[in-house]
């Protein structure tokens, strides 16, 4: 175990940022523009791999950016958890970029340059969040992410997009400024530090009521995690182009929210503090409610993307719930679930987008029999939904397994029941789609019995991610090890 100062984490953040600038200034030439996207993504991946090796060996990277407040610098610290998240974001960025090209070009979307530039910027911010070494840095990149995704959310620039964008920013900024900021400051004033540490930073005795308040402020403050009642922005932001929904809901935004909450729970409060106080229960209760309610809502949605969105809300709460259990296994599970869910959910979104590109259909009721027209897409959809539900052969089972283990460790049976119910609900809202797609009656089918998939650039990504999902079942160590290192559980 050693800590080394390295420019690497900063360089990853910078590369994406510079990439975004390049994209912005090469608006004339579309191919060159997208080449930049890929080049930066590739560089990022390479750098990430380089770091991953060291991190897996148990080292941490730090990089001190600037001391913005006395004793409170902006700095990067890369540990297993951050690495895990960066990996997810970095690898999925490539896929999403590919998909974006396949999605945007056929639809002749306007302002593509802005889109790609903001996309790169969002990734840059995501990486920043992943590598941040203290709450302040995390908050900084969190805000940058909120702002840089705003143009993405409102990409269509019509009335609907405006409403969605309004909701998006209102919720994210309100919560982050109104809750997270004071919580952060109060924490700092009480502890004198904001640097994450696995033992938590509340070392001296703190008024328990204050702790509860802080916990609530933090959980709701990072509203990207979609905890009810601050989840409203998420379905609202469904008006965006599908690649953006993919980015929002699978890769960057919501995952950042959850990542932040997890970081706060593990790095600021610490598992020990959580488990030894009622805090753990509070987190669990909030998360459980969200899980159940959002799954129930998802059942009632007809718009495919909205259903996926509510599913996301539920899954995010899963992750928080896992951390809320406050046992090592639970935390490992929830960390891993970030990755697993990312792959699963992005597949689903890609599929939804592919369906839209190929047929222009948005509603589930219109998709009866679609499996006959787009078999590949729908198989990918099936795999994705299996992963989200947590069935074997997909990565989702692994993380859920750990979470269940964690719940058993903590001895709270009701959490197990929650997991069970929610999985059932997940299955209830996903399987009918798949079933109807393939096994509907002939006369109900709304599609000709002719294979007509989306263009290759839109088709390939879901396939890739679906395969990734399966691979993650076979080699879960890819992400599991990072999580274990982060929590300190032996491999």
């Amino acid at each position: 175990m050693q800590t080394m100062t390295s420019f690497l984490p900063a360089s990853i953040v910078l590369v994406s940022f510079i990439g975004s600038v390049f994209v912005f200034f090469t608006k004339k030439n579309e191919n060159l523009r997208e080449a930049w996207t890929f080049i930066t993504a590739a560089i990022n991946i390479v750098l990430l791999f380089k770091m991953a090796k060291w991190v897996l060996a148990g080292n941490t990277f730090t990089y001190h950016i600037a001391e913005v407040l006395p004793g409170l610098p902006l700095f990067f610290k890369v540990d297993g958890f951050g690495m895990l998240f960066a990996f997810v974001a970095g690898s999925l960025w490539v896929v999403t970029s590919l998909y974006s090209i396949g999605y945007m070009r056929p639809l002749k979307e306007h302002a593509q340059t802005r889109y790609f530039a903001c996309f790169a910027l969002a990734i840059s911010a995501t990486m920043g969040v992943a590598f941040s070494g203290n709450v302040l840095t995390m908050y900084l990149f969190y805000e940058i992410l909120s702002l840089s995704t705003y143009p993405l959310v409102t990409h269509h620039q019509d009335a609907e997009a405006r409403g969605g964008g309004r909701k998006y920013l209102t919720f994210l900024l309100t919560t982050s400024i109104g809750f997270a900021l004071p919580a952060m400051i109060i924490t700092y004033l009480n502890t004198g530090t904001l640097t994450f540490s696995n033992a938590g930073i509340f070392t001296q005795a703190i008024d328990p009521t204050l702790l509860i308040v802080l916990l609530l402020l933090f959980i709701f403050g990072f509203a990207k995690s979609g905890m009810m009642p601050f989840h409203v922005w998420l379905p609202g932001a469904m008006v965006v182009p599908t690649p953006v929904s993919a980015l929002l809901h699978a890769v960057a935004v919501v995952k950042v929210g959850v990542f932040c909450v997890l970081r706060i729970l593990t790095g600021v409060f610490g598992i020990d503090l959580l488990s030894s106080t009622p805090l753990s229960t509070i987190v669990c209760v909030i998360a459980s409610i969200t899980v159940i309610v959002s799954s129930l809502i998802a059942l009632t949605q007809d718009n495919l993307k909205r259903r996926l969105a509510f599913s996301t809300v539920g899954q995010l709460s899963y992750i928080v719930l896992g951390a809320g259990i406050a046992t090592s296994f639970g935390v490992v599970g929830s960390m891993t679930h970030i990755a697993m869910h990312a792959f699963g959910k992005i597949t689903l979104f890609f599929c939804a987008g592919a369906i839209f590109v190929a047929t222009g259909k948005k509603y589930i009721s219109q998709m009866v029999g679609i499996g006959k027209q787009m078999p590949v897409t729908m198989i990918a959809f099936l795999i994705g939904s299996m992963s989200v539900i947590g069935l074997p052969l997909t990565g989702g089972i692994i993380s859920k397994w750990y979470m269940v283990l964690g719940a058993m460790d903590s001895g709270r049976l009701w959490i197990l029941i929650i997991y069970l119910i929610s999985s059932l609900l997940n299955a209830a809202y996903f399987f009918p789609i798949v079933y109807n797609a393939f096994f509907c009656k002939e006369e109900d089918s709304q599609f000709p019995n002719k294979i007509k998939e989306a263009p290759l650039a839109a088709l390939l990504p879901p396939v890739i991610t679906a395969i990734g999902t399966v691979i993650l079942f076979i080699y879960p160590e890819l992400f599991l090890n990072f999580a274990k290192i982060a929590v300190g559980v032996s491999k």
Partner: protein, 496 residues
């Protein structure tokens, strides 16, 4: 010349103002250049002073070589060295910026404008540097008179607005003068440090209280703290853009500084917070100011006017922070003077650019502004982010300290007000951004073929200051720790 730097900071603009007037008779266009050179020089000397203060400690410069209480003294400590630098830099940037704007708005009054401009800054610099209570009054009046003239130059509704400002400003200055009179009658001295020594050795009588009260009310009037704010929005809205760019960041902030200065170097912590115990009332006032400013800003359609109400809210920040009575609050207030100065400057410069190109600053005229003036809007956005308090812009860090102070002092209302105001700012600015971003399109076209809005940026002399300011906002934010540890904390240490 280095040891004369404190005097030079003020004397250079003063003399150059005179030269501008004279040369302006023959070569009106040269005055712009002269102004820029002046403030470049002033900035250099201000920087020298700052460096010296940091390395050696507070500087005392006596005019006419008379020892301190008898002659007039410039007492440069950590905070005012910083603020002086800020003033110089802001003046420098606005001077560059004003070139085209003035030619467009004022025509043949260019040399007068620059002369008044330079003198205004002279006054502000003097106010900040001086260690003499009465000298401060004179300089206050210089800056006030110049600002009246500058504000009214654009004509139209500016006249009556400025007239109201004149009345309120005079009341403020007179109250200050009255307060100084009460101090004089108690101590027989005018030098701030001397007054402080004499005051602390006596028991505090009722007259000292009145002196303090009047000085404070005077300053609150000048800085437009909430119930006394009525003059500000109109005065700044109808003024020539360059004037509001100069005044909005500086005037009120300098008044806030005077308040801090009076609290720290004339009175002392014990008196203000333990004997008087007004802090709750005044923090409550600040809360009202913040909320009222924010709410009123929400109701405005004109951007300039909206910003003026935001200034009212920001004043609440600083007053509240200063009166929290703890190190963090005071740091927040002091730091916010700098931060808010640049923030307001940035926004006003951006809006100035827009007015220059579009013609007015109503919300409806902002349609498609992002396509039309992208660079301007980048500056505007950074300013707006700072106002909202998004890291790493400096607005975030001042808010950080203020919230810390509010928490430590258990001033919950103030804390909540700060947060609400941030959110209101967010709403305000995103309303603008939304308009600028969305309404470009004729929307209903199916293929999203938008008519090309041609790019039409403001001239370079306007853009460069804007972007510099925007850069400074981030730069200051990143160097907050240095500013706080090397400049603000040493200043506060003596007070608390």
């Amino acid at each position: 010349m280095i040891e004369q730097a404190p005097a030079l900071i003020v004397v250079i603009p003063l003399i150059s103002a005179l030269f501008i007037t004279i040369i302006g008779l023959y070569q009106p266009r040269v005055s712009w250049l002269l102004t820029i050179i002046t403030f470049a020089l002033s900035s250099i000397f201000a920087f020298i002073c700052l460096k010296q203060v940091v390395t050696v400690g507070p500087i005392s410069y006596v005019f006419g070589n008379w020892p301190a209480p008898f002659g007039i003294e410039y007492a440069i400590d950590h905070l005012n060295a910083l603020i002086v630098l800020m003033i110089c830099v802001v003046a420098f940037l606005v001077a560059i910026y004003s070139k085209h704007d003035i030619i467009k708005e004022l025509g043949d009054k260019i040399p007068h404008f620059y002369s008044l401009f330079t003198l205004l800054v002279t006054g502000l610099l003097g106010i900040t540097l001086t260690g003499d209570a009465f000298n401060l009054y004179v300089l206050l009046e210089i800056s006030a008179l110049t600002s009246y003239a500058l504000l009214a130059l654009s004509g139209g509704r500016a006249y009556i607005a400025t007239f109201n400002y004149l009345i309120m400003g005079t009341i403020g200055a007179c109250f200050y003068l009255l307060g100084v009179g009460y101090l004089l009658i108690n101590t027989g001295s005018l030098n701030m440090a001397d007054i402080s020594v004499i005051l602390s050795s006596n028991t505090y009588s009722y007259t000292v209280l009145v002196a303090f009260l009047f000085i404070m009310i005077g300053m609150w009037t000048k800085m437009a703290l909430f119930p006394l704010h009525s003059w500000l929005p109109n005065a700044y809205t109808y003024a020539p853009t360059s004037t509001s760019c100069l005044l909005a960041p500086l005037m009120t902030k300098v008044s806030v500084y005077v308040m801090l200065r009076m609290m720290t170097s004339v009175f002392n912590y014990d008196y203000i917070f333990n004997v008087l115990q007004w802090q709750h009332i005044i923090v409550a006032l600040a809360v009202i100011a913040i909320l009222a400013g924010s709410v009123l800003a929400l109701r405005q359609d004109n951007l300039k006017r909206m910003l003026t109400y935001l200034i009212v809210a920001e004043i609440g920040y600083m007053v509240g922070g200063a009166w929290l009575g703890n190190a963090n609050g005071f740091t927040g207030a002091s730091y916010h003077i700098i931060a808010d100065g640049f923030m307001t400057l940035c926004l006003f410069l951006a809006i100035g650019c827009i007015i220059y190109k579009v013609g007015d600053a109503s919300l409806s005229s902002m349609k498609g502004i992002f396509t039309k003036m992208p660079i301007t809007m980048v500056g505007f956005l950074i300013g707006a982010f700072s106002m909202i308090g998004i890291p790493p812009t400096c607005g975030f860090f001042s808010k950080w300290y203020l919230i810390s102070g509010a928490y430590e002092a258990s001033a919950w209302a103030f804390l909540v007000a700060l947060l609400i105001s941030s959110l209101v700012n967010a709403v305000l600015f995103f309303r603008i951004i939304e308009v600028g971003y969305f309404q470009a399109l004729p929307s209903e076209e199916p293929n999203h073929h938008h008519p090309k809005i041609t790019r039409d940026e403001a001239p370079l002399t306007m853009l460069i200051p804007l972007l510099t300011t925007a850069g400074l906002l981030i730069g200051i934010g990143l160097y907050t720790a240095d500013i706080v540890t090397y400049l603000i904390h040493p200043f506060i240490k003596n007070f608390l």
